[in-house]
Symmetry: C2
Subunit: 425 residues, 2 copies
């Protein structure tokens, strides 16, 4: 890579998600040269991806160019690159666009969809991790509705109108809720000649309750909301096969569906050419100490979802959500600055600000400190928190306007099949 | 196709562009069954496509779901379909999703990009006709900037930063102007280590002036504006070859470029299986009488760009822009209603409301009736007219907000490579 080497220490960050961006922003003012590598030229606000899938928001509302976010850093370079290998001996990163030497390296590569080795499901089900995934889901959903509207074979039609969402974490729950609102408020007006109840939304969860990481109260409340919206919730239901047409559970039950969306798990997006013996095989995360140094390395750090810092409160690492990532980024920035001025690093301490999930209009659940609540107030709070967390004034205004518009009009406007999706055969 | 046949007359419209939508909307209240077929599920506001290409607007701001536009029609069906053949004997349309009988048929298929038979250019240059085209241009532009930022071979770098736009009609002029504004206001902040003047914008026009259909005043003014913005204008310059790397003019001059965009012409998007002897070969348009009936057919009409109605004022048909399409749609709706109530049809008469084109901030030209003017007022007028013409309150607000934001911040925010574009090799 052609980045001039100066006398300043070079910090290389791999990944422009919550962790990488938070670190980079907070390194402002440090006497370093900063390089950030990512496979996309934008930062994605993943908590709202499901609204892109369901026509509520456009991609640009939840994405922000990385170069623009970090424009104010003085000695900063961005490169659109995929990292293939790390050589910690020579301190060199190998990418698809060349090599890059580093003084300090920070892995912030996040997670990728985990199909738990099920190749059939990996091939035919749709993941929802990146913007193109969300747009694929949107296109497929609308294509299947268009098909169904002209289909006289009832079984065939129902397969196109049947939505099976696997995994009832926040993403699965929010996606099911948004689909239910499309069914209730939007599709009946678009597809007047269709019997809308032929559309079914099934949510499958392997465990005994929805939103497994949240409180019992939140899980029960969310399940109640989902049922009110007409989502059919299947608990202790594990998907074992999907062939593009038939979804099979491990108890043998089958569901015919052309819309199978997989939100059942993630695994660390570790770097193919950097499987150290401190990579935790099960989670595919790098084990780090309390300074986010990968165990055994002084100058290689990991932050966010890809890092596993086992602590007393979190013996299996922090939850793989935005907050620990942002906080670790902020903290590591401080530690890098301390290091550069010869001070000792301080250990990371996570502050749990709580968890929220939204199911639909006036329906959300929140666990914040000791408070467990649900309903309209949780929903309003969810919206405020997410609006504030979005990057950039413009995106906040556009998302806010879209939400107000959708709320007043019971509408989701972006029902466009811009790039048709071709299901695998 | 599975659309119930009733006792009402069935009117089938092929195409949901300006003409087709205008006709369908104005058929509200008519005692007919209406079917609209289109290859996309949305109507595209093509005059603003260039702003999608240049990161100024997102696709959903200039596209609108067809089902939503026509939601209030009573006996209306939309089908996502590509028409392959028309049998006027049996009054039947053949499409990729089945056959459909009609009582009245209206062709409103518009135009497609015309490469004038140059296969090399058709293969390697990028058209800008549909939303995916515009998004391809955006991705390619940003990918080439990312590549150039890390490239030390100067010739190679310049090829990636060289933009060649072929055809100086409104689309070519507006696109060149928008690129010039990116060069001036946006890219220098994103690519701080780059010498921005290595980016060149060349606009090629086969004739002796830019904006050939407009007045001399407008052409001269637009050319002046383009030059002020740093666009290099080549008049009487005809492209003869492009191989993905080298653009050759017919006088032998060559330009090395990785960004070659073709806006040099359109031709009627006539239906492959309906080449009647009244199809005008040169323009690929259907010759129609003053009632928009295709010559020789009582029940088959053509409106908008695909129709050629030769009149005293327009001996080679109306200009292929939005206004004649909208007006013919409105007029044919009236005539269909007249016909159904046993009245005679009235001839179409085109009202020229004028022509406008925008080059950049405070820079536009307008020919309206006898007035020829340019500058800030024309620019403001251009914006008001285009905002009013957009479909839907939401789209108007979002486009307006984006324009105000871009104007104040000298920014174009949607610089996202959502789907990378793979140039042909």
């Amino acid at each position: 890579m052609n980045i001039p080497k100066t006398e300043k220490k070079r910090v290389v960050i791999i990944g422009g998600g919550f962790a990488g961006i938070s670190l980079a922003k907070n390194l402002k003012g440090a006497d370093i040269q900063l390089v950030l590598l990512d496979q996309h030229n934008y930062h994605t606000f993943q908590p709202l991806l499901y609204q892109v899938s369901t026509s509520g928001l456009e991609p640009d509302s939840i994405a922000y160019p990385i170069r623009k976010i970090l424009r104010k850093l003085s000695d900063f370079y961005f490169r659109l690159a995929t990292v293939q290998h790390i050589d910690t001996e020579t301190r060199c990163v190998t990418t698809d666009i060349g090599n890059l030497a580093y003084d300090y390296l920070v892995l912030a590569t996040g997670t990728k969809t985990n199909f738990f080795g099920n190749e059939q499901i990996a091939k035919y089900a749709l993941p929802m991790k990146f913007l193109p995934d969300a747009l694929n889901i949107r296109s497929l959903m609308l294509q299947n509705f268009e098909y169904a509207d002209d289909c006289t074979d009832m079984a065939e039609r129902k397969a196109h109108l049947n939505f099976c969402i696997i995994g009832a974490g926040p993403t699965g729950v929010e996606l099911s809720g948004a689909l239910a609102e499309l069914k209730r408020n939007v599709f009946p007006k678009d597809y007047k000649h269709m019997e809308i109840n032929e559309m079914e939304i099934h949510l499958f969860e392997g465990g005994p309750q929805v939103l497994p990481p949240m409180s019992d109260h939140a899980s029960k409340e969310a399940e109640k909301f989902l049922k009110e919206l007409g989502v059919i919730v299947h608990l202790n239901a594990i998907a074992s096969d999907y062939d593009g047409e038939l979804l099979t559970l491990d108890d043998g039950a089958t569901f015919r569906t052309k819309n199978c969306i997989w939100t059942a798990g993630v695994t660390g997006a570790s770097i193919e050419g950097f499987k150290t013996d401190v990579m935790i095989e099960k989670s595919s995360r790098y084990a780090v100490n309390q300074f986010n140094q990968i165990n055994g390395f002084d100058t290689v750090f990991a932050i966010g979802d890809i890092a596993q810092m086992d602590t007393q409160d979190y013996p299996k690492g922090h939850p793989q959500v935005a907050q620990p990532a942002i906080q670790q980024g902020e903290h590591l920035a401080k530690n890098i600055k301390r290091m550069l001025s010869g001070k000792e690093m301080t250990p990371f301490k996570y502050t749990d600000k709580g968890t929220m999930a939204t199911v639909g209009r006036n329906k959300a659940v929140a666990d914040i400190k000791k408070f467990r609540f649900g309903g309209s107030f949780a929903w309003l709070l969810w919206m405020v928190v997410h609006l504030m967390a979005l990057v950039g004034f413009r995106n906040r205004v556009i998302v806010f306007f879209n939400w107000v518009y959708n709320y007043i009009n019971y509408d989701k406007a972006a029902r466009l099949i811009v790039r048709p999706f071709k299901p695998k055969t």
